[in-house]
Amino acid sequence: MTAVPVHRRRFFAPLARVAGGDKLVTAALALLALLIVAAVLAPWIAPHDPDAVDLSATLSGSTPEHLLGADQSGRDVLSRLIFGARTGLLGPLVVVIVSTVLGMLIGVTAAWHGGVVDAVLSRAMELVFSFPALLLAIILVAVFGVGLTAPVIAMSVAYAPYVGRLARSVALREKARPYIQAYRVQGWSGWVICVKHLLPNIAPLILAQSAINFGYALMDLAALSFLGFGVQPPTADWGAMINEGSSSLLQGAMLPALAPGVAIVITVVAFGIVGESIADRVARREQ
């Protein structure tokens, strides 16, 4: 076989384990990798400047010059799609990181202490659950002004209970396991046991949930951009692109709205597949 350097093999090993020979999961991972590369290298691989206006190409269909056509202002749809991946991935990434950290903190604290602490934190999570995420985002937009900041903060808060509820239930189960109790009998403090032993053991399941959340957060942020609360024109963003492209649908041009829509669907599904696959792997290992 080809000689792969050891460090590289180690780096890819977790991904290979997640794929586990499953073609669908491999495809989803490859697609996400492609998306990330496209977002990072956008200025170099995009065929056009995303904001460059070519009025002669306005609402053209697919042409050799503009593979996915141009929108009503004559901007290249493919280039905007590639640049849109940047905000499209960065926003959910921040949401997922913040909500995962926040959720784990709340969930594990509730599970570990139990009693009053658990009751207060669980009720607090339910309170956030009962509040529609989009409404929270719109309120924050009213406070902070339009842009990516307010929606990302709102989504981070709104997604934290999903992670927190899962983290709580998994941590409760793990806490009852004899190995955690053995650490307590050994005299470790609760803090050390949680951080060094409990968290690493429940992390895979939480990460699976976070991967699925990534897709949903992407969809929610795109929805906010579509509504005009998120990323503002002329910045390229999938949600905003659908909004801008929706009027051209009436003029028979499908691509400006359809292309970002398809991109969102594919990305959300890919994250969902990867998340489910991680969860399945953990479930198999539990048995």
Partner: protein, 299 residues
């Protein structure tokens, strides 16, 4: 007072309305071996968990070497001191080891927490502990999932011994193992007791095991002590109907299920007359029987 390694007085624990442990008292001399026997739900595991501090007793006192440990540990020093008094080996060796930690690290962790040793000293002590339980370098680098049940339980024992406890609680520690492996582990435990002078508290339902490993026996029934004494005497002439029932329930040549039914009736009758209490003498005298060779039709 300090001639006992472990002293327990009037231990009580309730879960809601259910009284799990009620007025349990016993003591364990240094290097002694006591078996707490009872069926599931008799309160034996709850007692063990209170001893190591995983549950808080509602009432009663637990003292090791004269130091009280019945209240919540305040501060790191108390916590560590208590961990050096009593350690525990859990029932299921498949769940009692951290799946992410190698055998070597698993034994080194308590050493790092409890003793200020140089890394070289710690490795030496680790190897000594692993050798003590019959594990070599090959097992030291392995993760728990690569080991057999018996090997895992050896790791758990080495880990428990790392803090040099005065008392080691073995909560059904061999119940999840094959019979041949059980015997090996019990031999190992006997050897360790001879060499280190650690006291054992066996929590078990297995009377065959008790006969071999415990100097004294304590029979728990519905959270109360119904009989206690030197193992040989109690097993030879059990006074309480519950002890007799337990004893007769062990399958062996000449085993007679009909007698177990009779024992159950005797226990029910005894309970009707006097609810179980630690002090009450048993109203029913044990009728000595020749070990009956007749078998019921069911067999």
């Amino acid at each position: 007072m300090t001639e006992h390694a472990l002293e327990v007085e009037g231990l009580r624990k309730t879960f809601g309305d259910h009284v799990a442990v009620d007025g349990v008292s016993f003591s364990l001399p240094p290097g002694g071996s006591l078996a707490i026997v009872g069926e599931s739900g008799s309160g034996k595991t709850t007692t063990a968990r209170m001893l190591v501090g995983l549950e808080r007793p509602d009432a009663g006192r637990i003292r090791v070497g004269g130091r009280d440990r019945s209240h919540v540990a305040r501060g790191r020093a108390t916590r560590l001191a208590r961990a050096r008094e009593i350690q525990m080996v859990f029932q299921d060796p498949y769940l009692s080891l951290d799946p992410r930690v190698t055998v070597a690290a698993c034994v080194e962790e308590p050493l790092r927490l409890h003793f200020s040793m140089s890394p070289a000293e710690r490795r030496a002590r680790r190897d000594e502990l692993l050798a003590r339980v019959g594990l070599g370098e090959r097992e030291a680098d392995a993760l728990p999932r690569r080991l057999s049940g018996g090997q895992r339980q050896r790791v758990a024992i080495a880990r428990a011994l790392a803090t040099r406890p005065k008392v080691l609680i073995l909560d059904e520690a061999t119940a999840a193992l094959d019979v041949s492996i059980q015997a090996q582990i019990l031999d190992l435990l006997a050897e360790i007791r001879r060499d280190t002078g650690v006291g054992y508290l066996f929590v078990t339902h297995n009377l065959a095991l008790v006969r071999h490993v415990a100097d004294d026996i304590l029979v728990l029934y519905q959270g109360r002590v119904v009989e206690t004494g030197p193992t040989r005497e109690v097993l030879a002439a059990p006074e309480h109907p519950y002890t007799r029932l337990l004893l007769h329930s062990v399958p062996r040549p000449g085993w007679d299920p009909a007698r177990i039914a009779a024992d159950r009736r005797a226990l029910a009758a005894a309970l009707k007359e006097t609810p179980p209490s630690p002090a009450s003498a048993d109203p029913l005298r044990h009728v000595p029987e020749t070990n009956s060779t007749e078998r019921s039709a069911a067999q």
